[in-house]
Amino acid sequence: MHSSEHSAHHPALAHHFQDLDQQKDATWLAMWVFLGTEIMFFGGLFLAYVIYRSSYPDAFAIASNALNVNMGLGNTFVLIISSFTMAMSVYSAQMAQTGRLVVFLILTLVLGCTFLSVKYFEYKDKFDSHLVPGRHFDFAHHHDPKTGAILEGAHGGSANTESTSHEAGHSEKARREIQIFFSLYFAMTGLHAFHMIIGAGLLIWLIVSSMKGRFSKEYNSPVELVGLYWHFVDIVWIFLFPLLYLIGRHHHG
């Protein structure tokens, strides 16, 4: 009852598996199951998004217009291209073309880091214009000529103190609703960026291992698995981008 001879002594085969095929099947299934977990993890945030967007549609549209759609769109393209280079890495790994594998992995890593840098500048911009939820949140600094009217007087005051000035009731309400949008924006894109960082770490690990020549025609599942993960993280962004950046754009041209 022992393993088929050809793969029985492969250095990458763990002792408790019969052969490389069984090991590969197991790791594949594990990655898919893990992605299932991930969907549920993001799912909680998406649910909150759906609920608050349907409760506060106007505030969400206004807030969404305060995001930098060009950066978001650019990042979307960056990620789509990185998915392509990742797919090419997997293909090269399967074909055992180590040189191309390393090149494509590095390209993917560079694209991933590009995404993260753009994200950094977006966050910094939001931070500078007081759009980070919390005590310093203040939407009035961000003055959109087309929508500013709704937010007249929405500035000032910390989240904890009830403003007593005239008209404050209405604008306080708008301010809170917009703040919820930004809470979700940061939670969702932050969690996504965290996944990107992990992905970048995995890519570095793959680059090092492939330079050491660990992968071959018969053993390349780490590349495939990281590929799956990377595509998943991209797909999450494909949902995040329109949901966060493009709400109510058509109202304002």
Binding site: M1, A14, H15, H16, Q22, D25, A26, L29, A30, V33, F34, G36, T37, E38, M40, F41, F42, G43, G44, L45, L47, A48, I51, Y52, S55, Y56, P133, G134, R135, A159, N160, K173, R176, E177, Q179, I180, S183, L184, F186, A187
Partner: protein
């Protein structure tokens, strides 16, 4: 089902006595704390969940002491709030949820499916460490003053008002959640990919089906509570507004998300216990399981339905009457799957040759107590009745009947049943029976009066109560002491048996199953001396010749 008789080939092990086993494979601390052996990891879990059980038990005893008298005299109301919160958190997240999967699941799953280990041994060890880190956060919270929100962390109290250490404990649970997810993932892949030749899905012991169903719930449910707790922590620290009505958020959303996990979580708690019952009830009835497929698919039913009944915890929390109605109906449906199992176990015993060893006594205990717990669950799922008893001791009694009467009984059944396999030693049978009676009697004395108290209107989570409730409360405290003694006694003789217990031999219960018939007690590190081949259905007691002494039947030497 299969009529053909298969001779189970006796295992050939030379000099079984001196054979190295997983316990003798290394004595250093390092060999334990860096082990990749699923059986050693099971022992690590056994130690940790038992510790947590006694920590939780101390909180429970202090609460019962306080409730001896109508006034809040032993503890300030604020401290009482902390007591029941810490009790709930420790028991739910650090004992009940990991107990059966972590200990029995880890030990048995690879053995039952004829594998050398789980699919990912390193991940398995990591799960334990993650659990320990989560537990450390909780312990830190305890020593630094505790939390007072209730184990449910309802917002906005937890995020806006509570002055206690909500954030560290929430962080601890967030971390522990990943232990649960990783264990589920590992077990699920193991069941799919590591089964021995011939072990098709319908030949699996039902315990494996139970673990499989539990794993799916862990994988799909736990991430939701994780992200919910993350949002709650962000709310508390940064005031982001998601759950705070003052900031435009919706606190009921927290309840929805919380119960979306925590109702399925009650099946994470009970389903593995039900798995244990299958194995024990067949062995001590000497019969094949009645309705194998019905039980197997009832597990699938649990997975599906457990995710669509969460609203029964929120009947009076401001959801629409229509959703309350639908949740009520769905909750009734989930009762069907429990009923299928309970009826089938009863049918399994029918005309069986039943013996009354300790594990079987726990099965009897489970059957009766789980029945009461499950049926009162149905009471609670009835809208009108729930409005009356929601947040009273009736609910407390309900969930203790399922969690202690159900899961803890099943856990003890399993621990007694597999103890000889785990350590190669027998526990003292008559003391064990006595302890079982203590536990059973103590349990009922503790929690039955709580049904009455709740029905009469005593709310849960208060340190003081009107004088008229005192008699029932004193009964409950008295019962709690008996119950506590029972648990201590069990712990004592189990430890005693490790040193002084009689040698168990390979198959002291004359049970079927790979773990009993194909390997020694305790098993070697790689579980089997040769990979078993399975060519029969499980629980094939009809085709075993147990008139002879099974242990001698398995001859040493060829």
């Amino acid at each position: 089902m299969s009529a053909h008789v298969i001779e189970s080939k006796p295992l050939v092990v030379e000099h079984k006595e001196e054979q190295e086993n997983y316990l003798t494979a290394g004595y250093t601390l390092k060999s334990w704390f860096l082990t990749l052996d699923h059986k050693r990891i099971a022992i690590l879990y056994l130690l940790s969940v038992t510790t947590m059980f006694f920590v939780g038990g101390i909180f429970a005893s202090l609460m019962r002491l306080e409730l001896m008298t109508p006034q809040s005299d032993l503890f300030e109301p604020d401290n009482f709030n902390k007591l029941f919160t810490m009790h709930g958190i420790v028991m739910v997240f650090f004992f009940i949820i990991p107990a059966v999967p972590g200990v029995l699941g880890n030990f048995l799953l690879p053995l039952m499916i004829g594998a050398k280990d789980v699919a990912f041994p390193r991940l398995n060890l990591l799960s334990w460490y993650v659990y320990i880190v989560g537990a450390a956060f909780t312990m830190f919270t305890i020593v630094s003053g505790g939390v007072d929100t209730g184990w449910t962390f309802y917002t906005p109290y937890s995020t806006s008002s509570s002055q206690t250490h909500v954030v560290p404990v929430v962080l601890g649970l967030f971390i522990t959640g990943f232990s649960s997810i990783l264990t589920g993932l590992n077990f699920m892949v193991t069941i799919h990919r590591m089964r021995a030749p011939g072990l098709s899905w319908f030949r699996l012991p039902l315990m494996v089906w139970s673990i499989y169903a539990t794993s799916i719930i862990q994988i799909l449910g736990t991430p939701v509570i994780a992200v919910t707790l993350m949002m709650a922590a962000l709310e508390k620290v940064l005031r982001i507004g998601i759950f705070d009505p003052n900031l435009g958020g919706d606190p009921v959303l927290f309840q929805h998300l919380f119960w979306f996990y925590s109702h399925p979580a009650v099946y994470i708690m009970i389903v593995p216990g039900m798995g244990v019952i299958n194995e024990v009830v067949t062995c001590f009835s000497r019969r094949s399981i009645f309705g194998y497929r019905a039980i197997a698919f009832a597990n699938v039913g649990f997975v599906v339905f457990s995710f669509v009944v969460w609203g029964h915890h929120m009947i009076v929390a401001g959801q629409s009457v229509y959703s309350a109605l639908i949740f009520s109906i769905l909750s009734y449906l989930v009762g069907i799957f429990s009923a299928i199992k309970v009826f089938n176990w009863t049918a399994t015993m029918y005309k069986g040759s039943i013996s009354f060893d300790t594990p079987m006594l726990y099965v009897f205990g489970f059957q009766g107590l789980f029945l009461i717990g499950g049926l009162t669950g149905l009471f609670l799922a009835a809208l009108g009745f729930d409005v009356h008893v929601h947040d009273t001791y009736f609910v407390v009694a309900h969930f203790h009947y399922v969690m202690v009467g159900g899961l803890v009984m099943a856990f003890l059944a399993g621990i007694h049943f597999w103890w000889p396999k785990m350590f190669g030693k027998k526990y003292p049978e008559s003391i064990a029976k006595f302890a079982m009676i203590l536990v059973f009697a103590g349990f009922n004395l503790t929690f039955f009066p709580q049904f009455i108290l709740g029905y009469l209107g005593m709310p849960r989570r208060y340190a003081s109560y009107p004088d008229e409730f005192q008699v029932l409360n004193v009964m409950s405290t008295a019962g709690g002491s008996v119950l506590g003694l029972g648990f201590l006694l069990i712990a004592a003789y189990m430890v005693w048996s490790l040193v002084f217990g009689k040698k168990a031999g390979m198959n002291p219960w004359k049970a079927t199953g790979l773990e009993w018939e194909h390997t020694t007690s305790p098993p070697p590190t790689e579980n089997f001396y040769e990979t078993p081949i399975v060519n029969e259905d499980p629980y094939n007691y009809a085709n075993r010749d147990f008139t002879k002494d099974f242990n001698k039947e398995v001859k040493l030497g060829a």
